[in-house]
Symmetry: C2
Subunit: 529 residues, 2 copies
């Protein structure tokens, strides 16, 4: 640092140029690209910006990222005044089929769908005895479009895993993929119309569970006359569904594939999803879920996706891909996206924020948090189902949301109901379930919790299962995969295949590791027992 020396040289350089003493004077005009040669007005603005005395010691920062969000809000408001279209979350998908379920469907936490629809797509021929079906379950925000087909030639989310000779061989199998209930890509979810008042459900949509999603899928399979699946296959939330299907319908599932999933959500993954939901719900445009004829909470959705993206990938990948590179290396650091990793996250958020229904994100991610295959949870669920079936038969309708204002009186009512239900017959499944459910309160000990999980998984001890985990996965860490495999083995399941991949793609590896994930899936699906 030789400031005086530098200063002198700068001055001498400037002396060779004419004009007012401002920054512009340092640049020979020949250095400026012809297309950008300054006209008088822009020259004035540049010199004025350089010469302006600020009223503050430093100039205020610019926040183009904040302006951008505000502009989008204004655009929506304008559209709303113009009667323009709202974002349609089913735009990204088309060419799916619909299963219509016309009877009321009771959900695990007491809600009721008066009817529901499931969007599905399929690939490969269904054989004569309908024994070659693979039910493919999706992750949180995916549609039924796992693979391109004539009615929708866009690449699907597992495009390279499904096809003749591929991981799921369409020469052998009839693959069916659905959009989950609670979703927004054709299946009934919060953005669907409540037949009772012809308005979107919004947050009047009832809480759904992974079990509910799977039970709805099996209603669809019933209508198709499919008695038994060759396999139930899925990754991430799809892996949860895949395991849940085996647990709920053990006679109807031939094999299970569970990739980067879990037998129960652990608190770290709940925390990651919780922050996404809170960020979304804090967007004033979310409006407690009633935004369908208004400005959507695009800002909250963008932020939620940015947080999600952090949990989907891994540090090592970003180290290699982005390192510490900045998007505009010569500029002053900015509080908007600045490093390449930031522009990447920003881009992921931008891409997603109008593609998926915010309320679906809330309900489906909550379903993941609640996922627990332990025996006590299955018992509790059975008990609630029984209790709510009573309510339904008595014409009481959907259970009130007890969460917000459960008074001691109401809690007593619940306990009484449970006692009434339990006392209906000793030795009955419900009584047994109640006893197990009650036992859960005492499960403070991790070992007891693990035994509870083993007892739950023992239901699928006869089903060959592939469990596959990724070592760099933060959201569904590999110890959770091992937990599934170990529990299954310890319940006596002799056909558990367990692989760990050293991929650096984190949770998203199931979408990217075509060879490593694909071979494992293919081997498991095609191996003769």
């Amino acid at each position: 640092m030789h400031p005086r020396l530098v200063s002198a040289t700068t001055r001498s350089l400037r002396a060779t140029l004419s004009g007012p003493v401002h920054l512009r004077a340092l640049v020979p005009t020949t250095l400026i690209p012809a297309s950008r040669k300054l006209n008088q007005s822009s020259s004035r603005s540049l010199s004025s910006s350089a010469a302006t005395a600020h009223s503050s010691s430093n100039p205020p920062m610019a926040f183009p990222c904040v302006d951008h969000l505000e502009q989008r809000t204004q655009k929506f408001l304008q559209q709303s005044f113009d009667g323009g279209p709202e974002p349609s979350y089913s735009n990204p998908v088309s060419g799916y089929s619909l299963y219509h379920h016309k009877k009321p469907f009771l959900l695990d936490h007491g809600g009721i769908l008066p009817s529901f629809e499931i969007a599905y797509e399929s690939w490969g021929e269904l054989n004569e005895d309908k024994s070659n079906v693979i039910l493919l379950h999706t992750g949180l925000s995916a549609s039924s479009h796992a693979k391109s087909h004539p009615a929708n030639p866009a690449p699907g989310w597992w495009e390279k895993f499904i096809g003749p000779g591929l991981a799921i061989d369409t020469n052998r199998f009839h693959v069916v993929c659905t959009n989950v209930i609670g979703g927004c890509y054709g299946s009934t979810g919060p953005s669907s119309i409540d037949p009772k008042d012809n308005k979107p459900y919004a947050t009047r949509f009832p809480i759904v569970t992974i079990f509910d999603m799977v039970r709805a899928q099996f209603e669809m399979l019933n209508s198709m006359g499919i008695k038994k699946l060759h396999a139930s296959v899925g990754a991430s939330m799809g892996g949860m569904q895949s395991l849940a299907a085996a647990l709920l319908f053990k006679e109807r599932v031939g094999k299970v594939v569970s990739i980067s999933a879990a037998a129960r959500s652990h608190p770290y993954s709940i925390a990651l999803r919780f922050t996404q939901r809170q960020v979304l719900m804090a967007d004033p445009n979310w409006n407690k879920g009633f935004y369908y004829d208004k400005v959507p909470p695009h800002s909250g959705m963008k932020l939620a996706r940015e947080i999600a993206t952090i949990s989907y990938r891994s540090g090592p990948e970003w180290e290699q891909r982005f390192g510490r590179k900045r998007s505009q290396p010569t500029t002053t650091p900015s509080l908007c996206a600045d490093f390449l990793i930031e522009t990447y996250l920003d881009h992921q958020g931008e891409r997603f924020c109008l593609q998926y229904d915010p309320n679906s994100l809330l309900y489906v991610s909550k379903a993941m948090d609640m996922f627990d295959l332990s025996a006590s949870n299955s018992a509790e669920t059975a008990l609630r189902r029984a209790r709510n079936t009573v309510r339904l038969q008595e014409g009481k309708g959907s259970t009130a949301p007890e969460n917000a204002a459960t008074s001691p009186e109401e809690q007593l009512i619940q306990q009484q109901q449970e006692q009434a239900v339990c006392s209906t017959g000793s030795g009955s499944a419900v009584a047994e379930a109640a006893a197990k459910a009650k036992a859960k309160d005492d499960l403070d000990d991790p070992k007891a919790q693990l035994n509870d999980l083993k007892a739950g998984l023992s239901t699928i001890k006869d089903i060959p299962t592939l469990v596959l985990g990724i070592q760099s996965d933060i959201l569904f860490p590999v110890w959770q995969q091992k937990e599934v495999a170990d529990c299954l083995r310890q319940t006596g399941n002799k056909n558990v295949t367990y692989y760990e991949l050293d991929s650096m793609y984190g949770h998203d590896a199931f979408l990217l590791e075509i060879v490593n994930v694909g071979s494992a899936v293919k081997g498991h699906l095609e191996l003769k027992e």
Copy 2:
């Protein structure tokens, strides 16, 4: 599940009770605590809620967490109308001393502080030759209050690490801890008054770097007549400062302690901080940083802290501490805080949201992102300092924020300036710096980047350094600690101590592992070379 059986028994139970057919009828009144025995009106409300026919298929959800945020906003608005007090971010601290720096201070990215203050606290006697000083650096949001003392008896953030016979032995050392510039606990930051217009800087505060923070600290040490530190000590961002101090003032630092820090921020940690900033900036009350006389962005701050908390702790700890327990196990699942881990995060956010200035969070976390001890970054910084010193001497004032609207012309101006600066003398430090800085553009190769880092760290090859990392740390993963230690060793530093702790407390272990962290620090500080 035997719904019919259950139903019959429920009916028979109800038949033994009189009164209208609603839920209440199931509860013998003796079961209701005397204090809650229903009067007529609450009984009516309960029965009416049970009997009410909803206009929707399911009742709407309640969102007490959203209501709570709105209520707080309303409370602030009310206070504002009443002329009531705004939140004071320096409330949590008191009893600190102030160093006043009365001359303009040029920051690394071209900003200027016309003057600044540093809040500091100290413990232990300063010896006669002022050779027993330990400069303790803080993490992102900490104050100078590391330890209780008569003027502020509240426990400090490193209470059990500082004291007679403890990790930093106050019988031996004079410990000085400062609040960083950019912070809000007494030192000059965005919430401070800009002397130019007597209004808070807000986002007119210039971008600060970790180097700036440390340079400001050394201005303070100068005023105290402290020529050389016994040691520079810090964890997290404090560890960054600790290393930076050695790099900038190698003759003035005797030993270095760097705990859970890094020699350069990696993209995953940048991503985690980026989402926190974006969430905060998306709060409409943030208002581009100008909220000091308005409603503070308490909601954005709460959310940012929730995300931060995820990066401060670890999965295994939460697995043991919270597991899958819910805060109110008998209630219907809620989209507000529901699992214990969620109420914990919510609580962390609540506690923090009015305790720390939101703009300080933006500036200080950005400083962490920019941190990079590589030779090319030091060279770039030196170059910018030289350039901006010229500007300052010419009375041009603070550099305009180039980030928002750097036109090609302006970029050319910058390049020209750099060329002017570089051409001032071959062999000069600046020219060398410029050459190194230019070389950074070509550093695509991770190996070259590592060599760049080694070159940067070679400055402190003669300073005994303790590097300590936590194996469960996600924010500053242990490989980053090893990177620091390995680089230092490879530059020829023969006094590098490197420990990995298997603590399950993640990044926060430096606050909690009193024995494991404490012994390492004590040993390093007291070992005779």
